[in-house]
Subunit: 343 residues, 2 copies
Amino acid sequence: MENTKKTTIHDIAEKLNVTASTVSRALKGNPRISDSTKKAVLKTARELNYEPNHIASALRSGRTQLIGMLVPTINRSFFSSIIRGVEEVANSLDYRVIVSQSNEVLDNEENAVKAFLNARVDGIIASIGKNTQQFDHYKQVLERGLPLILFDRTTPHLQTGQVVIDDYQGAYLATTHLLEQGCRKIAHFTTERKIDIYKERYRGYLNALQDYQVKPNEALVFSGNLQLEDGRAHTKALLRKGEAFDGIFSASDYAAMGAMQVLKENGLKIPEDVALVGFLNEPFTSFTDPPLTTVNQFPIEMGHTAANLFFHALNAEKKKIVPKKTVIQPELIIRASSLKKKP
Amino acid sequence: MENTKKTTIHDIAEKLNVTASTVSRALKGNPRISDSTKKAVLKTARELNYEPNHIASALRSGRTQLIGMLVPTINRSFFSSIIRGVEEVANSLDYRVIVSQSNEVLDNEENAVKAFLNARVDGIIASIGKNTQQFDHYKQVLERGLPLILFDRTTPHLQTGQVVIDDYQGAYLATTHLLEQGCRKIAHFTTERKIDIYKERYRGYLNALQDYQVKPNEALVFSGNLQLEDGRAHTKALLRKGEAFDGIFSASDYAAMGAMQVLKENGLKIPEDVALVGFLNEPFTSFTDPPLTTVNQFPIEMGHTAANLFFHALNAEKKKIVPKKTVIQPELIIRASSLKKKP
DNA sequence: AATGGATATGTAATCGATTGCGCAATTTAG
DNA sequence: CTAAATTGCGCAATCGATTACATATCCATT
């Protein structure tokens, strides 16, 4: 209904016999404009159902109020929760979030960043691909002076804001918990991937063992892709080898789930025979039987933090702030899969 | 490196001694430009590392290459998968996707739509809130002549493109499957919500019973919010009442999960004593014990379809096309929770 | 009365690309 | 060989808001 034409500041200006610049200033609360005209402008703006054209504003001012957000996979709980967290903060500040996914492919990653830049986003929040070793596309972002915040999957090759959880601590908590439950032969599922987070989890595992005077056993450490099938294969290998084990700390919930399946198929009791701990708090972990003990990464909070860092960097602009790195402390969610001693 | 200044079509024009309009046309492949100048333009564009400014283009042309996507909750598997599907198609056509979430709150929904319009998106793909009964904000989108595609949660109050799954058929398949497994006293978990999809599932349930000459029993139908706790409560109520039942078809996986928990807690065997079928194919359903039979809604494909409808509507523009409604056929995923007869 | 300084608003360029209109130059038709 | 059509490109306005700079008015100061 009403006019199909959108009203612009010129329409308001005409109606009030002032110029568009006055209207623009009035709408922005410029102190050089008298209160009376400000009021009048606001009033007719409302009457004419004025809505600012962000595109025109963006062209002139160079600020689009858009954040480009790049994740490996949109439809994975961890990432979609982070998107949610970012969206919540961005929305409250009248910013909007463009999402793209890389599917862990460098080419997609580069194209997405380029598309973001062409869309003239005000900055980028991203988690880098598993196999990405080349960071020129991100460097371009920084060279343009745009804020870049990395989360979860970060790299030391980029001097910029980062949000990660303390993977070491998460793994340490998980392993310590197994040790406290009486486990002494604890297997670990990890990956060869050159991502720091898995190295950190491995380190946490080793240090926990050390702190309990348990000698690490290389035969209990398995490397793969941390998917369900990997967990199944590792567990079968463990059983086949006859290597004694009474606990498994998997760096991924999926692999832990694979272990749970194979253990149950072989008539082993969880946690009595083998206690099990995963990592990431995937939504399914509370629904397994027994429910899976895991490490919560607080993804929504991670999204909030990433967004806050983003806006901090955005406001600092040229002031050359030192890139901030925020480390979120994980939480061990203890469920039945590892709880031998009833409290 | 290089210039910090972005190169524009004017820079290219200057270097070639032509005007910006010629450059613009050349880049767009306008047939009125000779092949030789086109080649020259392309060449220097590459040399100068030219990247088009979408904002400027958007202001003049009125097309932003942006799609506003509104979902109730970003971090739910069903919705994030649809976002993924939309993003895939949009990306391949050089469109970008802005996401927002309503959290099922009308106010958020209205604000998100308004924000999309202010960002001058080329159209909107949305799933309406559970409690939304007021559609003026969507009508404004249509009045502006922008494409609006609704998915999953739709309404007859809006004449526009829609993508839904055949909820009736999904429920019919599910219930028929239980009947074929020998169940005759099948409970149903549903909701009072005024959303068509649940009514359709109820209808599918009833019709399947009818086709098998099973008389519906009102005492076996439970209405709630379809969350885990609701499923638990309904199942406990069933057991308490002593109402005999040998199967449950839940309109949600979460409620089905609640049922599974309570049944197991009460020493009942699944599927021998009670066969169980859910709806939605939540990721956790394959990890429960026993794995949960459920109905696949093909969310990624639904996203693809929504995006395709969107672009169809976008290209049709003023040609006043009849709003298309696409119905996706669901698939029953049969797992151990309902499989009494081993095939 | 002349000068200075606020205060309030106007002028016009600008952001970068797009596009209707116009006009040469060249080709084709008759 | 001239008129008409086509080809290739320039001119300039435009999208809507922003902003550096200029200007006008009014009051206060000396």
